[in-house]
């Protein structure tokens, strides 16, 4: 075989591989475009039928053909708020403990354990929530139970992200504070927190994104009460993903469209939260690297 022929052949292979890689990367764009188009198309009928009432009405009755999603939007935001209120202080505490207090021998196993907990399936937390937490602790199936379960689920995520952010604090910043006579807590307040503020906000928002979209655990413990808008944490309620999970199987026609419209609403909310979070995290990471 001629050398030039060999050369031509390997160039062909080279180009083919490149095309393959481009196609693979483009799949992401195709899938997202498909999600947006097909879901919006299916959600359209109910939005036409209900108009803006879909977002502002609190009545949801499939037999009557009335679909007001407000109670579910409220439920999603309420449970996520409870979850954040519980998870954020605890996650920050653990992240600070791991990075500033824990001796080296304890640090590694703790990080390892947190990573392990992040892979415990949400349905297992849901099972524990419905059969143990809601029955033996007098909480029933309620916003609060759902909030607690969500908090337990997002704590490992917020903690590990916060830990990464906090660890980018330059050693010199911390030593400067200590050299001026600061106590450990004063050092944290003067060096660690100001340095990692942006990243911590981002970590919390990523946790919020997870809490908003979490379906199964919420569907099991929130109580599936229709139309409840109340700030009583012991009341039963419902959230967007939980309604979809519980009703979609037996739905048809307009009902199906309404549930898909709920999914689209959820999709938009979580994506906004996630994008803002990612932007904040990336900016603070870039700034802390000094580039």
């Amino acid at each position: 075989m001629q050398l030039s022929e060999l050369h031509a052949r390997s160039q062909h292979a080279d180009r083919a591989f490149r095309v393959l890689a481009v196609v693979a990367a483009t799949t992401v764009l195709v899938v997202l475009a498909l999600i947006t188009v097909t879901m919006s198309k299916r959600a359209w009928p109910v939005l036409e039928h209900m108009g803006l009432d879909f977002f502002t009405s609190s009545r949801w009755s499939a037999p009557e053909g009335i679909y007001g999603a407000l109670p579910f939007i409220f439920g999603t935001l309420f449970t996520a708020t409870i979850a954040l209120a519980l998870a954020v202080p605890v996650s920050l505490g653990v992240a600070l403990f791991i990075t500033q207090v824990a001796p080296p021998w304890l640090k590694k196993p703790m990080v390892y354990l947190l990573d392990l907990l992040a892979v415990v399936p949400s349905v297992v937390f849901g099972l524990w929530g419905v059969l143990v937490l809601s029955q033996h602790f007098g909480l029933g199936r309620s916003f609060l139970t759902a909030g607690i379960i969500l908090a337990v689920m997002i704590t490992p995520i917020i903690t590990s992200l916060s830990r990464e952010v906090i660890e980018t604090t330059p050693q010199t910043d911390k030593e400067a504070a200590l050299a001026l006579g600061a106590t450990r807590w004063e050092m944290i307040g003067a060096s660690v927190l100001p340095h990692s503020k942006g990243g911590l906000v981002g970590a919390v928002m990523l946790g919020l994104g997870r809490a908003l979209g979490e379906t199964i655990a919420a569907a099991l413990v929130i109580g599936s009460a229709l139309g409840q808008i109340t700030l009583d944490p012991y009341a039963s309620g419902n959230s967007m993903p939980a309604v979809i999970a519980n009703e979609f199987g037996e739905s048809d026609g307009m009902h199906k469209s309404a549930l898909i419209a709920l999914a689209v609403t959820l999709f938009v909310i979580t994506i906004i939260v996630n994008l803002v979070a990612t932007a904040i995290v990336q900016r603070s990471m870039r700034r802390s690297r000094g580039t």
Binding site: V23, L29, L96, P121, G213, I271
Partner: protein, 293 residues
Amino acid sequence: MTTVASDLHAKPSWRSARSAIMTGLMVAAVGAVALPLVAVLWAVIERGASVAFASFPDFFTSEIPVISRRAGPGMGPAIVGTFLVTGGATLLSVPLGILGAIYLNEYGGTRKLARAVRFMATVMTGVPSIVMGLFIYIMWTMRFGYSAFGGALALAALMLPVVIGSTEQMLRLVPSHLREASYALGATKSRTIIAIVLPAAAPGIVSGCLLAVARAAGETAPLLFAVGAATAYNPSLFDEANTSLSLQIFGNATSSFAAAQDRAWGAAFTLVLLTFLVTFIARVVTARFSRMR
């Protein structure tokens, strides 16, 4: 002023007391995290293991009782279903994700398409799993009916951006002098990537993919409307309804029958064991990797 010197030797002031209190609160936070997590794992082991290992290996091999209040074992079909769905998702998403990451890191760089893909991959990681479930229902299940493959598609769509993200990070860690050495020897770009870059990054890529698999194996919401609810073995990826451990836990959790609840705990035990096993293997691979360096 002599008081300054004596102040430095003063008894623990409110400042150090406050620091100690805050440190105490941090320890309390560790406790607050550990408590529910230990409680969950304890419940799964205590209530699940006894179910799963009663008259071993029946629980892992028997079919699921059709009448759910009937006591007795059976999660065999769910275990097979979990492997089918997760395996299918892995076969779909891992090659695609690795190729996509190769484009991003080796070809795309800061080009417009690469930036768009990177951004959209971030967006895609935020898509709630139930939304992905409905999407696959519309695209696949409405046309072809229930099957393990529908579930695999949904999980693959969730895994893809994760695989792309972790793989790109690993590729970025490969030092560029390795690539340059390969070019200097006359290798083409594709050959350099396949023979030099990928092997150098392999352990990291494998461990990233395994973590994505572990997460996917426990997903329930994307499977709800795609896989169906079989109670008998169905080894086929494409035909007929199937089931999975996560779906069985979800279905049995709200049952008022003790027998069904027992099976939910047994299935939870099995599922947690599987996901931990995969995570553990990922850890071992990473550890090997860092020792090699």
